[in-house]
Amino acid sequence: MSPQTPPPHVESLTCPNCGAPLTVRSMGRAVTIVCDRCHSILDAKDPQLRILQRFEAATGDEVPLIPLGARGKWRGADYEAIGFQVRTMEVDGIAYSWREYLLFSPYKGFRYLTEYNGHWNDCSVATALPEADGTSARYLGKKYKHFQTCDAKTTYVLGEFPWQVAVNGDAVTVTDYIAPPYVLSSETDGSETTWTLGEYVHGADIWKAFGLPGPPPAPVGVYENQPSGLRVSAGQTWFAFAGLATAMFVIFTLNQLFSQREQVFQEAYRFSPSSTEASFVTPEFELKGRTSDLEVRTDADVSNRWIYLNYALIDEDTGRAYDFGREVSYYSGVDSDGSWQEGSRHDRVVLPSIPPGRYYLRVEPESDSSFGLIGYTVTVTRDVPVLTVYLVAFCALLLPALLISWRTYNFEQIRWAESDHPMRSIGSGGDE
């Protein structure tokens, strides 16, 4: 194994039918070789290259995207494209064709790349025996779901193969089981069954490895074992959601348990809307302990009335003011639809992160001057548990899980639509 790459090894033969030169690339392993000029399928084990079959196809009917003879470093070894075949299955009277490129390494042997609608798979023979029933298969500890069973024929072939190929010969039954990005396929002719494992690969990686010109064909639709492209699965997202929601619930519970709920101020007032100078300040109250939240509750005795209160919480030492306005209004009545009510006599606001210290409130009530006296009570409570922040956080956690589930669901819907088991509705989930 020299460090330089000597020229590729080829044996030169000629087609016994048309005399065109043939190239043999797989070093005595070829069983079948196809003349690309006259489409004679030849017995490569026979020194006379006996003609096994000729198939009718115009040259150029099918052009391999990876030319025969192209070499590339693929999965850690040098491989050469040596064979190309088009295989066709029929579903409900519609023919679907995919292309297979046989790759050869004298050390690693054979593997092949398949292409359908721009979707590629890197396939090699399964080393262990899979176990399969009609609905799933198990291979080396991994479970694969049945996707499709169909009968397939080879409809075009070029190059050489280590097995016998025939164009439009006997159909084989191909069964695909998927666990994206993998597909486990069995092919049976009725007696012998061969299993191959495919992995979804990107055309761009093949183009780069084999130095192919231009861009690879753009993939159309969703392929059977195409990974969703989401970095996480819906299951993982829900698992993370469950973990974070549990943690949040624990914090919420602790918050509820350890909140002081210390009432630091309460006073009842009466306000005459006709008075001119309504603004006043409350006595001081002390906020102790750590920086925490503060609830200001206003209970007003209003009925078909409103009262608006301009509040300012003022730190006596620093003079810092926290301004906020609250409206308390309550209306009720009876109309043709029956009795109705609107608003509430109670209002509650929570000021977050108030440092400890001595504070007082400046209160400036307003109302309609036509109203009579309005009684109201101001209650200030230190360190109250908060619910809304947890609700917001809960929604923030729920949202990505829902989005990923929805995107996954849509992707799986498209994937399975092409299978023997299309998904019917939300909830069936493809678990039939």
């Binding site: 797989s26 005595g28 069954t193």
Partner: protein, 211 residues
């Protein structure tokens, strides 16, 4: 390890046995097939031209199987419908020998396994299940093969054979077994499918144009 040396009774070239238990070898010079008797070598035949070689393994290739170092000492070549394959006789440095089969670059290492009674050829069909060494095997391939040739050292006399039937069996965990009906009594070999890279093979054949 002893390396008994002798001269080829046919051409006089020196014959060195890599493995003390080898029963048969071929003369690299004149292609005579030689059988070891107590002291002498007896010529029993000549190797016909071997088919164009496609295996990257050759006599002298060494590798590692389950942490045991081995060296390739000989081989049997078979033909079948889809080409040919090699059963390489490998000698383990710790003693003993096994087989490394290369069938279209699918590699398996197997050891002779004593099990009684082995099923008769007529009693083996595709899909049949057998359990040896507590491993559940399924018959996956039955191959009608033709003896094609031998090279190097073998642990038994093996030449001038005609047809031979092999039944290959696999397990769900990658175990591999072969029932060999090439002799009057069936023989069983049990081992594993192995990855080319995992064998860490050295002294491989160089292929022109390939690295």
């Amino acid at each position: 390890m002893t390396k008994p040396a002798a001269l080829c009774p046919s051409c006089g070239a020196p014959i060195v046995f890599q493995w003390s238990s080898s029963v048969q070898t071929t003369c690299a010079h004149c292609k005579s097939i030689l059988i070891r008797t107590d002291v002498n070598l007896e010529k029993v035949g000549v190797v016909s031209d071997l088919p164009p070689d496609s295996s990257p393994i050759q006599i002298g290739t060494s590798g590692v199987y389950e942490n045991r170092v081995f060296t390739v000492a000989g081989r049997i070549i078979y033909d079948y419908d889809e080409g040919s394959w090699n059963e390489w006789h490998i000698v383990l440095n710790q003693g003993g020998s096994a087989w490394l089969s290369d069938a279209q670059s699918q590699y398996a290492v197997t050891f002779a396994f004593q099990a009684d009674p082995l099923p008769a050829r007529a009693a083996v069909h595709l899909g049949d299940r057998f359990t040896w060494n507590k491993i559940a095997f399924v018959v996956t391939v039955i191959t009608e093969a033709r003896y094609r040739g031998v090279e190097g050292e073998l642990p038994f006399q093996y030449w001038d054979k005609q047809g031979a039937t092999f039944a290959d069996l696999r397990s769900t965990a990658g175990d591999f077994a072969t029932l060999d009906y090439s002799d009057t009594e069936p023989a069983l070999y049990v081992g594993k499918m192995v990855d080319f890279d995992a064998l860490r093979l050295k002294n491989l054949r160089a292929f022109e144009g390939w690295r």
